[in-house]
Symmetry: C2
Subunit: 442 residues, 2 copies
């Protein structure tokens, strides 16, 4: 089991039908599965059998795409889904060890509700809950919550900082040994061990206490996924684990060390933050087979669905010819997004619009392509050279893409001694190798 | 099975450890169970085996009691619990037919979140979700949501009306047959069958669409529990089922007919609203045994815990002698609550403070006491005379108090032909005998 060797952490990002913009057209995919419990139970079963640390759900509070290019929206499967915390609660019943991580926005929630839901999930799952704290990014989400536009970056992050402070405070409402159940003396709990937060900030006023006892893992694990400077600060201050979206090993090494330094600047140990780049792993028994698989995945992609993913940035690209090189003056709205790097590459290399669509439609994360051995090599290289503490695996299609990783790549990592064969503990925190947090009142 | 005879509906109200203020001191109760999934799974199993229509969770967004009388708070088990929607999601996995109803406040939530959570629960459970829409009643809840005090009644109900309108609108976002999954033509859904709500009201501005397809039962069932005139209007306008708290058959008949008339006034059929009084059923093989059981339940009650339940109305009663009659001038703050009737009775009958505490500590609902046969008689009388379409059973302690009803009372109702022996359908709506709602766009 534990060899003493540093161990890689693996997340399984199983939102929807997969990250391919047209995953629903894959012959192995059930297009109706995005609201099916059985589908997600199967994905979670595969991930748990392979000893993944987490199943992870990204989330948004709206259909984020406008119908631009016109007719694109109805071609996308990314418009209905289960709410991730209710889904994870149900999954907690059919799993035993795997961590259950869901995204919730600090911009369009109240901290009392978030603290309560994730505490409840932690109780239900025996200590396996994680919260991916994000600030949201689309105008569409603002429109569902009484606003005409999304918050600006400063306000978003000021609010997020306060929000997480409140949530952490509420999670400390009760000491772990507060509930004495003293039938003789008539005391259900020891009043010295209950704490009233009484938070009064700029955005939130929350008295507490939370109606949840201290949770099995002390408190749920905090994940974070913000990419800007303020996002990195938030990660350094609060995150137990961070999702990144680097596209090269150099960028990953730099990104990871920045976050570790921020953690240190906030007085934490650098090793208290696990950095997990997102990655699509496209493998085969040979490199040639992997390349064929990638070509097939690209061939599924509906160009309009891919264009829709970048329409907020570049407007309606459907006016251009699919098989001609992209125009040089592709108007950029100036909104820098995760796809900016790819667009730069596209323009430099005079890609056709079709090729750009195929790349964008694959998802905007790193794709690691190769034989299964080569993929394991690459993952280990990133891990050994300080580019990653592990990976958040983002399958192109579900459950097949995940099953492929579980069957072919995980065993190779296990053989190299960099990934567990058995869970180390029963809580997410234990499996991630994170210390149990002390209460602020301890 | 269906005899054609009108059938009684039964809910199992299984919040916490039961409605006795000191339920945790009952020898059959595990005081640590209020955050235990196994405990609620057992309660739900019992209720489902007995063919109850629902398990139901009341809810609050704070510890509602102040520590008044001083030292009372730590004597109560009503201070930690699981968040009910996450809990019900988990319960959906271990049940098959029973309805899953949770309370959510329209005062301290956003309609988009509520619409989404309950839609998700409806999908997860195959059509068994219900939302008990309440407006909340304590200052403590306001303090956890950025406010210094709770909303006044008008604002509370204006907001509630708008809130429910939005939720209903979001639930109609997609026609039931919108998702065509046309791989050849590349269309995941038919764009004519997706609807943008674009609601702009006084309290809420919500564009939609909801990222949930039309749910298995069309939309979740709406329960309601407000007692005031505006509450009754809300029930008449929106509710599929209403919890009431009458203490006499006359009051129940009157209450039920008022709600049915309001439904008619809103253009609905009177039979579209099922009225379910809350009731504690304390039975035994003989009436004498039932009386002994009641005495025992009362003997468990910690007077301080009982006084805490009415402290907001009457202040600190612990200054009075437990075994003397209550003073005539018991100061009433004027806040009329469900306990007002009981207090009036107490003063008229010159109860001692101890007796008042025992009555209040039993819970503030109707107690039906008698042999099991007598209880079944009473329930049938209320049902036949138009005082009830069924009952929301509120056990004194859990799971024992529920098991007693399942074992001894339900079979008697079944023998009389007024309660099902098998579920009529697979959705909550079908079991309640409610029609499938049409979409506003149909
Ligand atoms: C790997 C990764 C995953 C993300 N997942 C989500 C998500 O699930 N939901 C969401 O609203 N935002 C998500 N975000 C967006 C971030 O929260 C953030 O808004 C975005 O990266 C822009 O960075 P900034 O907010 O720091 O400016 C994700 C970002 C990254 C890098
Ligand atoms: C049977 C019954 C059950 C109730 N359950 C809840 C509940 O779970 N949570 C809550 O906040 N309020 C609950 N209420 C309170 C009502 O929502 C309402 O606030 C209260 O009855 C006062 O009536 P009014 O709001 O119409 O003035 C309940 C009321 C009744 C009669």
């Amino acid at each position: 089991m534990a060899t003493g060797k540093r161990q890689m952490k693996l997340g399984a990002s199983i939102r929807g039908l997969g990250y391919n913009a047209s995953a629903w057209r894959h012959p192995d995919v059930d297009p109706g599965a995005s609201e099916s419990f059985a589908h997600f139970a199967e994905c979670a079963r595969i991930a748990e059998a392979a000893k993944f640390d987490t199943v992870f759900f990204a989330d948004g509070l709206a259909i984020r795409a406008a119908d631009e290019p016109k007719g694109s929206l109805c071609r996308s499967h990314e418009n209905v889904e289960l709410e991730p915390v209710t889904l994870l609660s149900a999954l907690s019943v059919v799993t035993k060890n795997i961590g259950l991580v869901a995204t919730a926005s600090t911009s369009y929630n109240e901290p009392y509700h978030v603290a309560r839901k994730y505490a409840s999930l932690d109780h239900l799952s025996g200590g396996r809950a994680g919260w991916n704290a994000v600030t949201s990014w689309s105008e569409q989400e603002a429109w569902n919550f009484n606003r005409d536009e999304h918050y600006g970056k400063d306000e978003r992050y000021d609010r997020a900082n306060e929000f997480i402070e409140v949530v952490l405070g509420l999670w400390d409402s009760w000491d772990a040994d507060a509930f004495i159940h003293d039938v003789e003396g008539g005391r259900f709990y020891d009043p010295e061990k209950m704490h009233v937060l009484d938070f009064k900030g700029r955005y939130f006023k929350v008295r507490g206490p939370l109606t949840s006892s201290r949770t099995p893992q002390g408190r749920p694990v905090i994940f974070q996924a913000g990419a800007s400077d303020k996002g990195l600060d938030l990660a350094g201050r609060f995150a137990d684990a961070v999702y990144m979206a680097p596209h090269t090993l150099d960028a990953a090494i730099k990104g990871r060390s920045v976050i570790r330094e921020r953690a240190a600047a906030f007085g934490r140990s650098m090793d208290d933050v696990k950095i997990l780049p997102g990655a699509q792993l496209v493998g085969g028994r040979t490199r040639g087979q992997a390349e064929d698989k990638l070509e097939y995945l690209k061939s599924l992609i509906d160009p309009l669905s891919a264009m829709a993913r970048i329409a907020a940035q570049f407007g309606d690209l459907s006016v251009y010819d699919l098989d001609s090189p992209l125009p040089d003056d592709l108007g950029d709205s100036g909104k820098i997004t995760v796809s900016s790097n790819m667009i730069r590459k596209a323009l430099e290399n005079r890609w056709t619009l079709r090729k750009l669509c195929q790349e964008v439609g694959m998802g905007q994360q790193l794709v690691i392509l190769g034989s299964y051995d080569e993929i394991a090599d690459t993952m280990q290289e990133w891990f050994d050279k300080g580019g990653a503490d592990g990976f958040n695996v983002m399958p192109s299609y579900l459950p097949g893409g995940l099953a492929d990783v579980a069957e072919h790549i995980v065993p190779r990592l296990q053989d190299r001694g960099v990934f567990r064969k058995e869970y180390e503990g029963s809580t997410l925190r234990e499996n991630l190798g994170l210390a149990r947090p002390a209460s602020r009142y301890a």
